[in-house]
């Protein structure tokens, strides 16, 4: 299946990168593009994070202190959009670019030119999206879920730019995921079977298929919005014969797989890190692969659990409730396997391991609150409260974001050739860990007590927990500057990393020198015993 690669063009720069700024604009090197994605994602993380801090500052006390309600709505919308499409998704694409070719023994991604385009679309998309803040009528203000007809009838003029930005992001991630699939299917080192691939490669293969399946549906739904706004159609306008509930069905048909797009690669990262620091092989590798596939399959048939309160017949509510709960089974298999991998291992707790263990514990908390939300009668109480906010932030921040940080600490020595400062790394971990729990744990309580989400002001009885939450937000937010400092410090110098970097690390990426040379595996590796840990 894996074709033997011939290098056609041996031009002047095949020994190293071009010089100057233009290197980054024209690069088709998977490592350069991975780096670009990761830095872009980090900038978006800071941007989306600063929106969140303004939101939390406003919610520090009841009453309106800092921002107008209209602007508050714009902030919640843009925070969600920037974090989902600008921070988390590009970070995983960046990791895929850096790691997938090195893990399967390929010289580069299969479609290098397209790889360059798919990255460089993103800065344009997000500049366009962010510029809407300065437009008349302000930025989109209808929540990141942009329910129509709220967004089509009542939205600001900038909604059209928002739609184009979503189109661009969609094109970018579709191109990125086609690249990942083609690379994994065609460029594996000769002799490497699918079941020999590291789990990170597996989870990304499945994620890429999810992206290819649902990003076009997202593009379709925003196109329908565009037509409703400008061309007089009435897909979602009841007055013209359309149906607002249809919007929610189409949106969540994209939206639920989207949450797995943001978590499956995280499963892959954690499945690489835990065996390394437990010094054992990953427990139950085949069951991990099957569990990931079944999660991906189930993600297509549970979307209406986001819409229990719009009015669905009882049979429908029961079906979507049980189908949703079913996802807990493969997810439970994964958590069991991670714990079983640690069981009896000789564990050490370097920074990547700390983030990975925190991932397992806190992601499980987020998963369990998801199970609570899946219970239809309970969901009528929890719907659109801070309990939902607490739930999805637990799976996305100490879930996806922690796994990205774990990945950065784990592979940074391979990327840069230098070890990061372990003391600072651990400090960053503990500040983040404490910050995130102080930030989101109280939100479960205010949510259960009935505090609605997406509001700038709230009843007095929620004041204490909101104050605590805001303190946690600023602690978590500012600790990320420490993260940036650690990464830059490591790029500039530090203790030299060995090729293996970690004593217990396995995988083809650890067989090449540190820092990874500009071109790796120009001739495919012969020895595949290292392939997965």
């Amino acid at each position: 299946m894996s074709a033997v690669i011939e290098e056609h063009h041996h031009d002047d720069h095949h020994h190293g990168p071009a010089k100057g700024l233009m290197r980054w604009v024209f690069t088709t090197n998977h490592k350069d593009i991975g780096t670009l994605y990761l830095w872009f994602s980090f900038i978006m993380f800071l941007l989306g994070g600063s929106f969140a801090l303004v939101i939390r500052a406003e919610l520090f006390q009841p009453g309106l202190q800092i921002v107008e309600p209209e602007f508050f709505n714009q902030l919640t919308t843009m925070h969600g959009l920037v974090m989902v499409f600008g921070a988390v998704m590009p970070a995983f694409v960046g990791l895929a670019n850096w790691l997938v070719p090195m893990m399967i023994g390929a010289p580069d991604m299969a479609l290098p030119r397209m790889n360059n385009y798919s990255f460089w679309i993103l800065p344009f998309a997000f500049t366009m999206l962010a510029s809407t803040f300065f437009m008349e009528g302000g930025a989109p203000n209808f929540g990141w879920t942009f329910y129509a007809p709220l967004s089509t009838d009542q939205g600001p003029p900038s909604t059209t730019l928002f739609i184009f930005a979503v189109h661009l992001m969609g094109i970018s991630s579709i191109m990125g995921s086609i690249n990942v699939v083609v690379t994994i299917l065609n460029l594996r080192a000769p002799g490497m079977t699918l079941m020999q691939m590291p789990l990170f490669v597996w989870t990304w293969l499945i994620t890429a298929y999810l992206l290819i399946a649902v990003m076009p549906v997202l593009a379709g739904v925003v196109t329908m919005m565009l037509m409703d706004i400008h061309f007089g159609t009435a897909f979602f306008n009841a007055g013209g014969g359309g149906d607002p509930v249809l919007f929610q069905h189409v949106f969540w048909f994209f939206g639920h797989p989207e949450v797995y797009i943001m978590i499956l690669p995280a499963f892959g990262v954690v499945s690489a890190i835990i065996p390394t620091f437990a010094r054992k092989r990953l427990f139950g590798y085949p069951s991990m692969v099957y569990a990931t596939s079944s999660i991906a399959f189930l993600s297509f048939i549970v979307w209406a659990h986001h819409m229990f309160t719009v009015g669905i017949p009882l049979a429908g509510e029961l079906y979507f409730m049980y189908a949703t709960m079913l996802i807990a089974v493969p997810t439970g298999v994964k958590v069991f396997n991670w714990v079983a991998t640690m069981w009896g291992g000789s564990m050490t707790f370097e920074t990547p391991m700390l983030f990975a263990i925190a991932f397992v514990v806190l992601f499980t908390i987020g998963g369990l609150s998801g199970l609570m939300l899946a219970i239809v009668p309970a969901d009528f109480q929890y719907h659109d409260t801070y309990f939902v906010v607490a739930h999805f932030h637990y799976v996305l921040v100490p879930g996806s974001v922690f796994s990205i940080m774990a990945a950065v600490y784990y592979w940074l020595p391979k990327w840069t050739g230098n070890m990061y400062n372990e003391t600072l790394g651990k400090t960053h971990f503990w500040l983040s860990f404490i910050g995130i729990n102080v930030l989101f744990f109280p939100q479960h309580f205010v949510g259960l007590a009935g505090m609605p989400r997406r509001i700038p002001d709230y009843a007095l009885q929620f004041a204490d927990y909101n104050m605590v939450s805001t303190v946690g937000a600023f602690l978590f937010g500012f600790s990320q500057l420490l993260f940036m400092f650690i990464v830059i410090q490591t790029i500039r110098g530090g203790k030299k990393a060995t090729d293996r970097v970690w004593e217990g690390a396995h995988g083809l990426e650890w067989t090449i020198p540190s820092p990874a040379p500009y071109h790796t595996f120009s001739t495919p590796p012969k020895d595949l015993t290292e392939a997965h840990g």
């Binding site: 299969a110 479609l111 399946a213």
Partner: protein, 190 residues
């Protein structure tokens, strides 16, 4: 460094086909959803005009049951719709199988002509397909010049096969101001 082999190109093309297919699928969800709603009454929408079958009607005259169902009427305006809109009677006690008639009152207090479209919804959803409307103002657009009033007719039959456990049916109408859309369409066609 270019690494585009034949196999990679073929895989890329296949995946692009999936992308196009899924884009189409997104749009196909619209008619699929409508079909599903027609079948199940999922969104509480009522069907179009019901043509009374003479025979059935006569039959129903002969075995009018003593069963009574409470029929409630609601009228509300969508955002920015200035009309006064209310049912002439708030509820009726009706015999399944028999033809009933009622009216909805509208008045346009604005100083301009407004075209309106009423959109019906039935609760419980299950009842939607047992409600047959032989005449309804919601089948057409309504046009009132400023200051004008009108009683809009509604004639309907509740199907005799209505499940026994349904004792009350609520028929609610929301009135939408579609003046702009209509004039926009006219501008396009002219």
């Amino acid at each position: 460094m270019q690494i585009e082999t034949q196999t990679s190109k073929r895989t890329t093309l296949k995946l692009l086909c999936v992308v196009c297919g899924m884009f189409g699928f997104g749009f196909a969800l619209v008619p699929l959803y409508d079909a599903l709603c027609d079948l199940t009454g999922l969104n509480g929408k009522t069907k179009g005009q019901y043509v009374v079958d003479e025979q059935v009607d006569e039959q129903s005259e002969t075995d009018v049951s003593s069963r009574r169902v409470k029929m409630q009427f609601l009228a509300s305006n969508n955002a920015d719709m200035p009309w006064v809109f209310r049912p002439v009677s708030r509820s009726l006690s009706v015999n399944p199988g028999k033809l009933n008639a009622t009216e909805f009152f509208v008045h346009n207090p604005a100083g301009r002509t407004i075209i309106a479209q009423a959109v019906p919804s039935v609760t419980p959803f299950r009842a939607a397909r047992y409600l047959h409307k032989t005449e309804c103002f919601c089948f057409d657009q309504q046009k009132l010049v400023g200051g004008e009033s009108m009683d809009m007719p509604l004639r309907f039959i509740i199907d005799k096969d209505l499940p026994e456990d349904i004792k009350t049916i609520t028929l609610s109408y929301t009135l939408f101001d579609i003046t702009e859309q209509i004039s926009g369409e006219l501008a396009v066609t002219n």
